[in-house]
Point group: C2
Chain length 469, copies 2
Amino acid sequence: MRTDKEALADRLRQIVSSEAAEQFLDELNGLRAEDVAEAIGRLELADAVSILQALDSDLAAYVLIELPTETARAVINELPDATIAHYLDILPMDDAMDLREELDPDRFESLLNVIPQEDAQEIRRLMSYPDGSAGQILTEDFVEVGPDATMAEVIGVIRSGLEEEYETVNYIYVLSADRHLLGVLTLRRVLRAHPDAPAREVMNANPMSVPVEMAEEEVARILARYGFTAIPVLDHRGRIVGIITADDAQSVLQDAQTEDVLKLGGVSGDAEAYPSLSIWQLVKRRTPWLLILFVAEFFTGSVLRHYLGSAADDDPNSTLSIIAKLQLFIPLLIGAGGNSGSQVTTTITRALALGEVRSRDWWLVMRREFAVALIIGGILGLFGFARAVLPGLGWSQPLPLSITVGIALPCIIVWAAVVGSMLPIGAKRLGIDPAVMSAPFISTFVDATGLIIFFEVARRVLAAYGLVI
Amino acid sequence: MRTDKEALADRLRQIVSSEAAEQFLDELNGLRAEDVAEAIGRLELADAVSILQALDSDLAAYVLIELPTETARAVINELPDATIAHYLDILPMDDAMDLREELDPDRFESLLNVIPQEDAQEIRRLMSYPDGSAGQILTEDFVEVGPDATMAEVIGVIRSGLEEEYETVNYIYVLSADRHLLGVLTLRRVLRAHPDAPAREVMNANPMSVPVEMAEEEVARILARYGFTAIPVLDHRGRIVGIITADDAQSVLQDAQTEDVLKLGGVSGDAEAYPSLSIWQLVKRRTPWLLILFVAEFFTGSVLRHYLGSAADDDPNSTLSIIAKLQLFIPLLIGAGGNSGSQVTTTITRALALGEVRSRDWWLVMRREFAVALIIGGILGLFGFARAVLPGLGWSQPLPLSITVGIALPCIIVWAAVVGSMLPIGAKRLGIDPAVMSAPFISTFVDATGLIIFFEVARRVLAAYGLVI
């Protein structure tokens, strides 16, 4: 079921270029939005846009919100206002809110003037809640009844509603005239109670609720903890403003977990599917922390220099002195290798766990990681060289030593990227849990092998200057 | 809502020792099992057992399965067979299966002979599926109808069922006479269709399902991906064996995530709440990987020795030679510090994210981590000393150097534990996301500060032997 995404993407590519697309489009319209989105995410932008426009709008709108943020943003830029307004109209409000993140604010504002007034008002209300709060993921599409409604009337409300009017009909919320939450009915209980019984006698009068300002992650944890499928959201005066459903909470939780895992591995940024990130975005997510850690590791070098300074400084050209000087850079080099290896292995292990990457994608991953590591390695290499050679800011080391550092750093970082990406994928292929290729394991492995790279680079560079170690 | 767990635990402690417990028990019986379990988990074993036995059985059974595994196991050992059999009877079968993990196999087998025959048979069926497969978390309590049943009849089935007979009534499964899955009805659609319409005309005839052998984690990911609240499970001949509900899938996913995060941080073991783990269990989860990495780091030392060997070996008692020898141990020492720091920070950050630990628990965490680090540090210190001093296996280093290594290791590991636990908690208290105190950050911080510890220990030990660096 989850194995033929690449095949689907291939067929989509053929479709775009052929005229005999009708039959396949029918088939496509029978698929789930999540699956179509995954396949479309693998296409070129122009192809993705034309497939999306060929789909039924009902499906296309949901496919759009399932696309990774970056892809969705690019697709939306290509779509006419009328199409997006139509999608906004189709989607439940909490999903429509998701599209906001992918739209230029001015364009979103002008779209709000095109869609039905009532929808626009609801979106504006949701937008007024703080970012990342419960208010931003709630839906106002819940079933509500008064305390005196009978069970027969409750069923009548559900029967007469439009097909997609309510996000869930499993909970029915009992409200007072001024919209205070009095209690909750489950549909199961409604069906079982006497048809003439009033809601106030059947309802659970003490339901759990959350305030609208609560962080969305916290709401999601409460839903998960108690196994609820929905929870009502109240304003500060106890009036209901909407409900949050478990599927939205689940997405919040998964993104939060991904961000936590990546942060623990020293990678910053929002939860985004690995394949949808460009080389530059990967570089951007990893370089800040690496640079901070790199600068912090200068301090380790300074500690070494403090304790070993005398040995390194007397008799500048003796073998012993050169070796002592080389050693000052060891923590810097193996630190950079270990940290970038941790980043890569954390990223890839998470992508494997979420099914964003499969073991047969290894060559794709390798090429990407190689390119990313070359860029990051180049940046750190320049910094390392400057640190070593500069007289004021740096340590005024001899040029051969500084060149050694500048060359060894990119080599070690590329090596760390290869090890850090291929070991989890290899483990997965062998049927071993990729997470056992832990960050500490990669760091330790890169420590030893990185040192070999460092000394071999040093031997060659120093030999070119007539120095021997 | 989530802030008064310790207060609840305190009140529970008072209750156990007082006679005026009646009123509080009533109050307790009105709480949710998850909350009672969290409070009970903080009590002494004897107190936990007496509270549990005082509760209504309906609540107590659910509290028991919400307890952390180790606590539940201890509590169950104290409970009489009759009580456990009664709990097994109350619980849905998929939850009853959870209890099996906490019971001695012989005892579980004998309990199966005490509970109703039908339940025992269902448990035996579930037990026959592979560990960690969909079969182990499914429930057989779903609503089923034939293809010719009318909507009015479907509602009749739901109405006439016992209150807790079905895990969910939101999906109704349409089965052929030989129990093949023909389609699925949502309760919403049942209510909206004509009362005389047969199931075969209303149902979704192409529902998603999973095979019974599929790994439970994979099933959970499918439920999360599509936002389903339940999914049917089929045997290899396409007959339905049960359904898996989203709340069970959610628990599977959360545990899997916790295990993945911890593994990435180099900590082995099942997902268990941090506070429920004893000092020894924490030691057991961390020592294996640390030892493996420690041994691997010997190799780093060997690489250094290979390239720097000449400098370290000639003129054994000169300052330069001693310093060169000290340096051979640097990767070993900062590696051990970095790795144990990563373990601690990963563990604590995850516990903070799951709400198992709060920032005001810092002193408890500090004491535990201090004790754990002392034990682990002692073990690694012994290994490090042996590695340094032993002539055959080791490097035949002078005694003062070996003693330095043996003392510096525990000091660095204790320091790493304090830093690795207090930085995330401090961040949380300051309102910063604890995950920014990433494993690479802790490693780098411990690199520099660990070196200072190493050299300061070295200076003192060597001075005692009349050597100066």
